[in-house]
């Protein structure tokens, strides 16, 4: 029993780190645009299918598949940004969200049109043997997932706190009006933030697809749901909260899956979301961000 819990926690942290990446992508876009891009998951799905296509056509190795996944996610995200966000300016936050829903359907239908089958294969890392640490097992693809996510988060941390681009992103999340009069090119920073979020989401999508080994076009819906839930659990608008929310969601899901089965897992996930909204309205990241969240919600 205890061993099961430890094992589930390890697995959950790995999946949770990928959820955290998805939530961070949502949060970056939300912070800069003050609008929700629900086509984020489907953009990643486009990337994943680009990778799968490359794999099936030329049995490409992991690195080309990884790059194709990122490229697909970035291109699809750039498309979403141009159509649903850059073209709809000002305070029309709901118009952007509704239009990103339309783009979601469009991307999903386009992929289904090109890939009419139900599932497709995605290359996996399972050729590496299972690691044994005492009584617990560490799946290599989980270890790779966790380490890649950690490295990416450290890189993101550096970008956001040290580079000029990162600071400009934060000025927009912090005080858009002051950012504009300080000469920050809002349109350009917003576009680049979208692309950065797409890279992060693309990495998460690749890690998840490479773990499962098979993909369906529903992975877009799945990525949007997981990312949004993790973001809300962690606290809307906080990057640290997004990461924590992702890890918590991953661990809770892994435990529920083990003890209650797949249906039980879904029930637990949405109960967790409900409890987070009712009991911790400012999220796990806590009180400090409460003001920012109220502000963010007001703009939403």
């Amino acid at each position: 029993m205890l061993l099961d819990i430890v094992q589930n926690t390890l697995d959950g942290l790995a999946i949770g780190s990928a959820y955290g990446l998805l939530a961070i992508g949502f949060t970056l876009i939300f912070g800069v645009m003050r609008r929700l891009n629900i086509a984020f998951g489907p953009s990643i799905m486009v990337g994943i299918f680009a990778g799968a296509w490359l794999h099936s056509q030329w049995s490409a190795g992991m690195i080309p598949v990884f790059l194709a996944t990122l490229a697909g996610a970035v291109l699809a995200s750039a498309y979403v940004e141009r159509i649903s966000f850059a073209a709809i300016r000002g305070d029309a936050a709901l118009a952007s969200m509704a239009s990103s829903f339309a783009i979601w359907m469009q991307l999903e239908e386009a992929v289904v049109h090109v890939f009419p089958g139900r599932t497709y294969a995605f290359p996996t890392l399972q050729t590496i043997p299972m690691l044994e640490i005492g009584p617990v097992f560490l799946r290599p693809e989980y270890l790779a997932m966790f380490l890649t996510a950690a490295a990416l988060i450290l890189l993101l941390q550096w970008i956001l706190t040290r580079t000029r681009f990162g600071l400009e992103v934060r000025t927009l999340a912090d005080n858009p009006e002051a950012a504009r009069v300080s000469g920050v090119n809002v349109a350009q920073v917003a576009f680049l933030t979208f692309l950065l979020a797409a890279v992060i989401g693309g990495v998460a999508g690749f890690l998840i697809a490479a773990t499962d080994g098979q993909i369906t076009p529903k992975i877009g819906l799945w990525a949007t749901m997981k990312g949004l839930i993790a973001m809300v659990i962690g606290g809307l608008g906080s990057l640290r909260g997004a990461l924590i929310g992702g890890l918590v969601l991953g661990v809770v899901e892994a435990q529920a899956q083990w003890f209650l089965g797949a249906a039980g897992r879904e029930i637990v996930t949405y109960t967790l979301l409900f409890l987070a909204l009712v009991m911790l309205p400012s999220g796990l990241a806590g009180r400090a961000d409460a003001g920012a969240r109220t502000e963010a919600l007001r703009r939403l």
Binding site: T163, E168, E177, A178, V184, L192
Partner: protein
């Protein structure tokens, strides 16, 4: 250098700014005063591009600002502070200055070197501004942790970071005592001595009358007077606007 030509801004039926023309010369400290709601802040927002004018235009050395995006106005030399301070609270003091360096020179930097440059908060011009605003000891402090006076100084320094040709100060003495006002006057003169033209919106009459070269007075969106501080104080219309017509004979301030 900064010219407003027949500038108007109507909000529905309200003429917030009504056919105002002004010319501010290089190196001047120009005061813009008027009762509450007379259109002063609207004029600043028209110059910086938050509002689009209903009619008329704003030019800086012949550049038509009204045709530019907000960030482009910054790069040709317009900077401002806000009546209610707006800093980047999560960034350090030095980072607030670095991120605002968006003048002409910075804009021309190569894409990658501009965006993914790190450590620019140690650049010489940031250091210079930190010393100028007496914030050097606070350089790595989060801006939200500063005292009120320090925040005001940082906001002015941030405006200067883009190397502006004209600085718009929106009630910089709001919330300040009279002594703070005197320090502020010295700082505004120091800004002018750096070669920056200043447009000052202010309620503290001692400050405005003491440091401006010329003043324009607004009432109900229209310019009712323009001239030196002495001329403006002697103007009957100005007294009427400030004190009501029955008080025309009282002095505007006891300077």
């Amino acid at each position: 250098m900064l010219t407003l030509e027949n500038l108007s801004k109507h909000f529905g039926g309200v003429r917030a700014v009504d056919d105002v023309s002004l010319t501010i010369s290089e190196g001047e400290i120009f005061g813009l005063i008027g009762p509450n709601g007379s259109g002063k802040s609207t004029i600043i927002n028209l110059i910086t591009g938050l509002y689009v004018p209903t009619a008329g235009k704003v030019t800086l050395d012949g550049w038509d600002l009204t045709a530019m995006a907000q960030h482009e106005r910054t790069s040709v030399g317009v900077a401002r502070t806000f009546q209610n301070i707006r800093l980047f609270g999560n960034l350090s003091v030095a980072q607030n200055l670095w991120v605002a360096q968006n003048g002409h020179e910075q804009r021309r930097a190569h894409f990658l070197s501009r965006w993914f440059k790190a450590g620019g908060e140690h650049a010489p011009d940031v250091e210079e501004l930190l010393r100028f605003s007496q914030l050097h000891s606070k350089r790595d402090v989060q801006a939200s942790a500063l005292s009120f006076g320090e925040m005001r100084r940082l906001e002015m320094a941030r405006a200067l970071a883009s190397n502006p040709r004209v600085l718009l100060l929106d009630e910089p003495a709001a919330g300040a005592s009279l002594e703070d006002g005197q320090l502020l006057a010295e700082r505004i003169r120091a800004v002018r001595d750096r070669g920056v033209t200043v447009l000052l919106i202010e309620h503290m009459m001692e400050l405005v009358m003491g440091i401006t070269d010329r003043i324009a007075v607004l009432n109900f969106g229209r310019k009712i007077a323009e001239g030196s501080p002495t001329e403006v104080q002697a103007n009957e219309d100005v007294r009427a606007a400030y004190l009501g017509s029955s008080h025309k004979k009282e002095k505007l301030i006891h300077a």
